[in-house]
């Protein structure tokens, strides 16, 4: 069986400080020689203490950062060196749910436009988008009427559901959940985790679940 996502020897250095010509004083190694593989429909938990580079791995997989060394293969294709325009069509299969449900939603856009953004990028028509957004709202357990509200009208847990709806919009094959429940209180955490598990069972997508909480990871992961 071929892996959906295959990461090998991934390394990321960040420059620390700079002299007046912009040359860094030193390199900080945030991610050192990380390798893993993820099969379609599988959940991989990614645990570690704060500041150990988990989030960096998530951002590297999403190509929000460029790695210093190593390769990332998605569906067998090496995406490490793809330029952003080459990468864009592949982003349909690779979505993200962020940790902070406040900063991850643009306060000036209605929920309809936030959740519909990936759909718009991949060429859906207006009425298709509205129908799909309503469907997604139901999937994540929010009334579809809330579509024309702005993010400030929602609680943290509701916002995280909106973030999940956005990630699911274009039916991706892999969703990176970067501390997707850490900012929520415990009872809401359980709700969101169960929601993710249900969605995974229903749509068969793979999850890369990044968390510092071992209990959370044990709850969702296959291995």
């Amino acid at each position: 069986m071929t892996a959906l996502l295959e990461v090998s020897n991934l390394t990321k250095d960040f420059p620390v400080g700079a002299d007046f010509l912009g040359r860094p004083h030193a390199q900080l190694r945030a991610v050192d020689d990380v390798s893993f593989a993820l099969a379609p429909g599988e959940t991989l938990g990614f645990v570690g203490e704060s500041g150990c580079g988990k989030t960096t791995v998530g951002r590297l997989v999403l190509k929000l950062l460029a790695p210093t060394a190593g390769t990332i293969r998605f569906e067998g294709v090496d995406i490490t060196s793809l330029s952003e325009p080459e990468m864009r069509p592949r982003r349909r299969d690779l979505q993200v749910v962020f940790q902070d449900p406040y900063s991850s939603l643009n306060p000036r856009l209605m929920v309809r436009d936030i959740v519909g953004e990936p759909l718009r990028n991949f060429g859906f028509a207006r009425d298709q988008i509205d129908r799909r957004v309503a469907e997604l709202m139901r999937i994540v357990g929010l009334p579809p009427e809330y579509m024309s509200r702005y993010p400030h009208a929602f609680s943290g847990g509701q916002r995280q559901r909106i973030g999940i709806a956005r990630a699911l919009a274009v039916s991706p094959k892999l969703v990176v959940c970067d501390e997707a429940v850490s900012a929520l209180d415990v009872s809401i955490q359980a709700q969101i985790l169960n929601l993710l598990a249900d969605i995974q069972a229903q749509f068969g997508l793979a999850l890369l679940f990044i968390s510092h909480n071992l209990g959370v990871v044990r709850h969702v992961s296959h291995r």
């Binding site: 900063s103 991850s104 000036r108």
Partner: protein, 290 residues
């Protein structure tokens, strides 16, 4: 949080704008002056009692009277009429410069802040070079190279004013660059220019509006300066700066020309500055209600 208790569709920033505006004395006073000047400028030809270039050689330097409420100038032209048409000239220049500099400045600032790297360095060094000259002196230099006229004024003031807009825009973009919704948009496959228009622009307009309304005061002042020096708007078209220059020669004996033009200029600038300050108090989230 119960869903029924929530206010739908309107953002908070917008819903309490008007109550705050009404309570802010600067904003109210400024907006009264600004709307008065703008209305006068729009309907200048209808309001002005005489043609602005209608001379009367037998009736020069007339004192204020029922016929000429502010008197006449050295060529017997009605000062009030020239003042009114002068408002039109000033505001035309101001809004043309504003339109040009906001377009160029916001575009350059967003590109510099979002893409970074060499593009950023190239744009910001250009900005630094223009900033290195005192703005009025640089505008005078450009105007004297290009030759006088209203187009010259617009172009030279645009050249000195866009860097400020670009710098402000860039710093605002850098602040927003770390917001996760920007990363989410990239991960959703949104192209860069769509991200700039959809996610950045709506979140940075408030400070730019404040900057623009305060900038109008500077631009009107600079236009008057250029016209005062004779390298701005040319006769017979009236300009407040030119009228002050013509009037200053005979300030001791016939003060009406210089004084009325100066008063119009001063009031207009104060109006735009009050309006801009008021807007800043209202729109800046860091300034709380007193």
């Amino acid at each position: 949080m119960s869903a029924t208790a929530l206010e739908p569709t309107v953002t908070r920033a917008r819903s309490d704008f008007w109550p705050k505006f009404r309570r802010n004395r600067n904003a109210v006073a400024g907006s009264i002056i600004v709307s008065f000047v703008v209305l006068v400028a729009i309907f200048a030809r209808l309001i002005a009692p005489y043609e602005y270039d209608e001379t009367d050689i037998l009736f020069t330097w007339a004192h204020p009277s029922a016929e000429h409420p502010l008197g006449t100038d050295a060529l017997g032209r009605d000062i009030l009429s020239r003042l009114i048409v002068g408002a039109q000239v000033s505001l035309t220049v101001a809004f043309a410069v504003l339109g040009i500099t906001l377009t160029i400045g916001i575009m350059m600032g967003m590109i510099a802040g979002y893409f970074g790297g060499r593009l950023d360095a190239a744009i910001m060094r250009t900005v630094d070079i223009i900033f290195a000259f005192p703005d009025i002196i640089f505008a005078i230099l450009l105007a004297s190279v290009m030759g006088p006229g209203i187009i010259t004024v617009i172009v030279s003031l645009s050249v000195v004013w866009w860097p400020g807009v670009a710098r402000l825009t860039r710093s605002l973009v850098l602040q927003l660059r770390t917001e996760l919704y920007v990363d989410a948009a990239i991960a959703s496959g949104t192209p860069p220019f769509t991200i700039l228009l959809r996610h950045f622009l709506p979140n940075i307009v408030a400070p730019l509006i404040v900057r623009a309304s305060i900038g109008v005061g500077f631009i009107i002042m600079a236009e008057a300066t250029l016209s005062f020096l004779g390298i701005g708007v040319q006769e017979p078209r009236p300009s407040w700066g030119g009228m002050i220059r013509d009037g200053i020669v005979s300030l001791r004996t016939e003060p009406y020309l210089a004084l009325s033009a100066s008063t119009a200029l001063g009031l207009t600038i104060i109006g735009f500055n009050l309006f801009g300050d008021g807007l800043r108090d209202i729109l800046d989230p860091r300034i709380k209600d007193r």
